[in-house]
Amino acid sequence: MARTVSHGTFVIERTYPAAPERIFAAFSDATKKRKWFAGGDGPDTESHTLDFRVGGIERTVRRMGDGTPFPGAALINESVYQDIQPGKRIVFAYTMSLNEYRISASLATVELLAEGQGTKMVFTDQGAYFEGSDGVERREHGWKTILQSLDQELAA
């Protein structure tokens, strides 16, 4: 089946009452990163590994819960760090996959700008999403999953 791709960029700005170094540490320290990024030790996070250096890889595996379109499926986030300027900037390329289906590949830029006592953080995400506006593959996969679980439900 033909694969389509669409591109999207979004920017999130946050101001935190903390110095840029502390926010940078929340990205670079694996224990801290896990707390806010990988949902602590919650049941939905299966594993989180972080090798915070240029070329290093961060991998997060979550299990989709009941009530999601894909219960039990693995949602895998893999980042490769591209540029690290301590206290100032982090650039990483990341992919999102649902089981073996790759959903997207993005370039993310975190900029930390000291502002008075706090920090303005600018997060820019430039993504390539591997389902066009038609979304045939995802839709097909989604429907198959829904229909299969419905069949099991009805057979029980």
């Binding site: 999207g8 979004f10 502390r22 990024f37 999102m96 993504g127 506006s133 979304g135």
Partner: protein, 126 residues
Amino acid sequence: MRGNTRHAGFATRAAQRGAAIDRIFHALGDPTRRAIVERLSERPLSVSQLALPLQMTLAAVVQHLEILERSGLVRTEKVGRVRTCRVESGGLSAAESWIRERRAMWERHFDRLGELLAEEEKGAKR
């Protein structure tokens, strides 16, 4: 509070979704209609193409399609003399919704980052 607004929005969406889900379950509670959706999820088909392996009259297929259309699962469109049927994307698959979901994911992460920073701050002062 931001969190409360978000919950209220979620409750409304959940209620709307509930009514829609009832219609979807009714529509899918029939093996013929499930077979129709399964085949359409692979590619759009005309009504007569759909009817071919089903061993039933066109009129019966059209009745099933009407129920599927009301549930929002299937969309049909008449071009000339041919009525084409396809599964409805339900907005889920639109590129915009991917980006919206992704932004929401990062917004949630950054909410938690803010909470973590606040906890650290409290811990340091203690």
